[in-house]
Symmetry: C2
Subunit: 260 residues, 2 copies
């Protein structure tokens, strides 16, 4: 069986921002859906796992862009499993433009948990370690972006608080992973978003639920980098993130190579 799956993504006019670039949330949703289909094609999708009482949980997500896909463009999202250790698996992504030139890469880390006990499964033994048979090494399919650096956001100050609603919640009743990204992107000014986001690192720490108030604590790590913690009113940290902006405005259709 092939180990890398690819899914086309057409950038619809109702899915782009005022710069005619795809919304980060729409793109990340498409990536998670690609991951879901890659798993489903192997009988390991969330609906398959739920029959056995398990589900996938996203733990870390790092995506780095040369540029964002633009209105009318057809991109391609490739995804594969790079490795698995006992409790975590690394899933990588590459986004290519229509000519096959990479414009973004992503590294993500997932756990599989028991839906009752919330305890992680041992991925090396679950279903006799079948997950290992789809691994694609770095040599076979490179993902040339750095790993996530630790995020320490001790000096953060409250930038925004938000009530959560029905539309923030996923199939499991938790605040959707991508909704955090949307709310974090909304913290930036239009001038900053016109420059564009070069990289997002996000670590998911604790679940939040519909109706929870989310507090967004920010700290500017350097001129182009914002750290954002999302906390609940009780102080629990749900998400830690680092967002790196491009230093100059993204030139539409000119900077086609991913920055590497």
């Amino acid at each position: 069986m092939q180990r890398i799956d690819s899914f086309p993504l057409f950038v619809e006019p109702f899915h782009v921002d005022f710069n005619r670039r795809i919304f980060m949330g729409v793109l990340c949703n498409a990536m998670l859906n690609a991951a879901g289909k890659h798993s489903h094609n192997r009988g390991w999708g969330i609906p398959d796992l739920m029959k056995e009482g398990y589900t996938w949980v996203l733990s870390r997500f790092s995506v780095e862009f040369g540029r964002m896909p633009e209105m009318g463009e057809t991109c391609n999202i490739a995804t594969w499993v790079n490795s698995a250790i006992r409790l975590f698996t690394n899933r990588y992504f590459r986004i290519d433009d229509a000519e096959g030139t990479p414009i973004a890469y992503c590294r993500s880390v997932w756990a599989m948990i028991n839906v009752e006990t919330r305890k992680p499964a041992d991925l090396l033994t679950f279903r006799n370690g079948e997950l290992n048979t789809w691994k694609v090494s770095e040599e076979e399919a490179p993902c040339p972006i750095a790993d996530m650096r630790p995020i320490r956001n001790k000096e953060a100050t409250l930038a925004r608080s938000l009530q959560t609603y029905y539309s923030d919640v996923d199939i499991n009743g938790h605040i959707n992973s991508v909704k955090y990204i949307e709310h974090i992107v909304n913290l930036f000014t239009n001038e900053e978003l016109t420059r564009g986001i070069r990289r997002i690192d996000i670590a998911y720490k604790a679940e939040a639920y519909q109706g929870d108030t989310l507090l967004f604590f920010t700290h500017r790590e350097d001129a182009n980098t914002l750290l954002v913690d999302v906390r609940k009113e009780n102080g629990d940290v749900c998400v830690q993130s680092r967002i790196l902006l491009h230093t100059a405005p993204q030139e539409n259709n000119e900077d086609k190579q991913t920055t590497k």
Copy 2:
């Protein structure tokens, strides 16, 4: 040239709510994207029109559901132009399940405006009335739902106020038509959303912009019907809407016919 276009819609796991039904916002976005592609295929898409200084503006949108598409299902969205009078065109939609059984219908009304003057174009003469050549009569393609009834919401009281952000704004810098729908759906309780939405009527009256505070005024017209006005702080009404709930919980996969 064929006059009705159809587009498949696969219901992704990251696009469904806690009832495993597609989010209303995701579905309405897919419908507007289908409209965009139908227009684009005839050289009348927003990017085409913008070259001549015009754009499409959604004026009214009525959608009635037998049931909502569910996770893992592949539906089909068909759309066509039913009629055009001088300043408005009626676009209809039908959503079929994988077996071709209709599960929803939609009637929408659009104007084409000059982006500078904001004045509507005469659709009967624009490009020599070419729009009329794609009309599909009610006999050829029925859309068996009622027209929108007038919405009078004089007794409404303030239910929620919301700040708008970058992610609420479309390519033209206005609050996105579908974002109003998402915010309106968020006004309902989970119990009501489990019963499900049977019909939404929405009339777009005035534009709002990023940073505007939106005020949601509601009035219960009857046991199953909520009227929602969305107003700006200066009192301008942006949107008037009527939402009709199903009387009993939607049975997954049982009530396949649209209510007619």
